[in-house]
């Protein structure tokens, strides 16, 4: 491979990025655009005590969960959460005619409107990820599509246990978890967010693809660096790659959750990228389909190798074909 000249983008990017951060950072904290007049304001009315006069028992439904109403500070400056932080409306609701002046129910709002309500307090990676490229936001799934506020104590305040919640919409994945080889999600050993919401955690220094970072906490033994890498495993590579090049993470009919079979009579997996190199296919005992020998019987360190640039098994690399077991010397 001939090295090409460095691009202007790559040579001076990082100093420029630091400068952008500093400039925008300063501007960010000086910027003070007035809030949209339709947006929920900081709630001039903090009237939890008034609300509970009619909506009896709703404080109990929040007891001991993160949105609990502190009985010693239902309203007032010490109240961390009040009813009107989430349910907005006009004072006429409780002063005059409640039905003619309804309060909002956040779960009935669209993703934009409910996002505005929740983001008054919640601005972690999870919420901010919604600003970037989030499939749920694109599909207009609002916060209450997954979370509930009343009558729950569990971590994450989810509507249902994760498996049922996620597969309620993603029903095609329910089928994938019935496949012969799969991640043990339907067994309760794993939950969906162990892989999917990892993208919330920018602390994992994601590459844009990010799949290898997601797989690494459980399958660290396969993740690099290796002295000799297989570029198909590197999700940051210009060659394209990552664990999903070969594996189907939800479930597969093939062992090791491979995307294509790697057993007789079909050794298909490698041939999605590689043709049979010259020299292999002129030897009737090697090759792919007709020889019955899988590529990784020789190229066995397929995730990466400590000794071989060709990812050959260590004995093959060290001793050569005629001493490594397949071909006794002299034959």
């Amino acid at each position: 491979l001939e090295p090409s000249k460095p691009t202007a983008a790559s040579s001076g990017f990082w100093p420029a990025a630091v400068l952008v951060v500093l400039v925008l950072g300063i501007g960010l904290f000086q910027h003070d655009v007035a809030a949209d007049t339709d947006a929920p304001t900081d709630q001039a009315i903090r009237v939890s005590e008034v609300c509970l006069d009619c909506h009896e028992g709703y404080d109990t439904s929040l007891a001991l969960n993160p949105h609990h109403l502190d009985p010693d500070a239902l309203d007032g400056p010490d109240a961390r959460v009040t009813c009107t932080n989430c349910h907005t409306g006009k004072p006429e609701h409780y002063e005059d005619d409640p039905e003619a002046n309804p309060m909002t129910k956040p779960s009935d709002l669209g993703v934009s409107e409910e996002g505005a309500v929740c983001s008054q307090c919640h601005l972690t990676d999870h919420q901010q990820n919604m600003m970037e490229d989030n499939a749920h936001a694109h599909a207009d799934v609002n916060c209450s599509g997954c979370h509930k506020i009343h009558d729950t104590h569990d971590v994450g305040l989810l509507q249902k246990p994760q498996y049922e919640l996620c597969l309620g919409c993603h029903s095609e994945v329910r089928g994938a978890f019935a496949q012969p080889f799969r991640h043990p999600v339907s067994d309760g050993v794993m939950v969906c967010s162990e892989c999917h919401l990892t993208l919330d955690k920018v602390r994992t220094e994601l590459s844009k693809n990010g799949t290898n970072v997601i797989c690494a906490p459980c399958h660290n033994e396969f993740v690099g660096p290796y002295p000799f890498e297989h570029q198909a495993t590197l999700d940051y590579s210009a060659q394209e790659g990552g664990c999903l090049s070969c594996h189907d993470p939800h479930g597969s009919a093939y062992t090791r959750m491979l995307k294509q079979p790697y057993e007789p009579p079909n050794f298909q997996l490698c041939t999605q990228c590689h043709s049979i190199p010259p020299g292999h296919n002129q030897n009737s005992h090697h090759g792919s389909q007709w020889a019955g020998i899988a590529c990784n019987e020789c190229h066995s360190d397929i995730h990466g190798s400590y000794t071989s640039r060709k990812l050959l098994s260590e004995s093959l690399e060290a001793e050569g074909c005629f001493s490594a077991g397949c071909h006794p010397p002299g034959r």
């Binding site: 012969p180 590459s207 844009k208």
Partner: protein, 517 residues
Amino acid sequence: MRKTTTAIFIATLTILAATPVWAGVWEGTIGLGGIVLDEVGNKATVQETYNIFDGFSVDQIKFSGEPVDGNYFKLDLHEINLDSRRGDFLYRRPGLIRLTASYDQYRMVFDPERAVTSKRKDWNLGAQVTPVDWLRVSGFYNNVQRTGQRLSFPHGTESSLGDTYDYTLNIGGMGAEARRNGRGVAVDYRASDLADDANYRADRTGQVVSARLFGRGYFYDKVTHLLRGAYGVHKLANQDLDYTLKTFQYTGTVQPVRRIQFKYNFDAQSVDSQTTGFVTDRFINLVDATFYHENGSLGGGYSYEINDDDHNLTHYNSWRGEATFRNKTFGAVVNYADRIKVDEEERTLLQDIEASRFRADAEVKPIAGLVVGGGFNTRDREYPDINVEAKGDLVRGRAGYTYTGWGGVSGDYSYTQDRYTDLVGSFNVNTHIVTGRVDLDRIPNLHLSGGVTYVRVLEDLDVEKSILFFEGKYTVRNDLHLAAKYNIYNYDDYVLLDRYYTGNVVWFSVAYDLHGK
């Protein structure tokens, strides 16, 4: 194993002994039972049976409540049997602190006789403290231990992974976030360490530091900004080889009126790998617009991406569009996306790539309790320069009906057609998957349920798998419950004839509820 079991019981007894002195309210359940397992065939074929052990089991030990005024705790230990168990713990003082812990232990099976297995133990600890409204401090620790044997794949091959597992992976981190008036800053640090006693060369370490700076919240203001960046080093410990990864992201949104949002995202990353010798820079510019209406949304976007490692220069053009609609009885989602890679110098192995996907889903709720839905997905990934293509279509339908006081019935069917055209040949499979479930609550104190999962894989493979279950729970008294469950597992591979399995499993348990004040 015995130590862990003993520790669980000692912890449980300690909690039971301590309960009388708690000032608050608590409740709990203790369930004991057994499992009868009868199986024949290849015991590696049905993953669902890997952690079922014949004999006595502790079904559940669960406590939750308010030991001290304003505090909540929950301890849930379940599925404790010969060699697998799970547990979760939560303590929360709302607005101040949250502590979590979980433990999972299970095994993986590699051979038909279940003689070659590996065991995995996974501890997770987490803490989050909010000492004042504007500051949140958090930390976590994850310990994974894996021991036992594995079979190489294909069987009999030699690789550096060996045939033994004996490693410990520790991952920990901490972070802090300060926020005031919707603006804030956050920093995080994370470290990992893999120590492999079976293969010292695999020892790895990783360290990442990241920061986040944001101004006003999502949808909260007319203009919002988010800056994120991270720097990490991953190292092969014994060979002094590493790669570093730097990322920087900026997202800005403009929302001139509440229903319209424009978004710009800039994403840059650089990976410097000592092993490949490449510095790979990737830059992405993305623009996006969404219109939100009362019953849904309409949106689309475009991104341009450059990927440059000084040897290969590629760029990508991606388009995306979607529409959603929902009201009280009907919901629908349609989306389309494509991504076209152009290999400028035609040096990469795969060269140009054209990928696209389309998805349409609809759901109707015509009467109370009834939900009927269905959808269609198609995805296509083509490598025109090397004549390789992967194409998949999926059709699915689902229906569910719940009648209060009686129970419910639900079913789901999907059909997938996968077509692979490789450099050497082609590979095609069609898969039918049916799941169904019936729940009956009509008889007082008795809950009955049953269901099926059926998988049929055809064409170049010929596999049939099914799981049938029947379950009953009877409440003898308000605090005493009996439960029994019968599962039938079946697996047949009609090409690889040694892969067949039939398993009959019966679970039974007695659960007693406890209350305290």
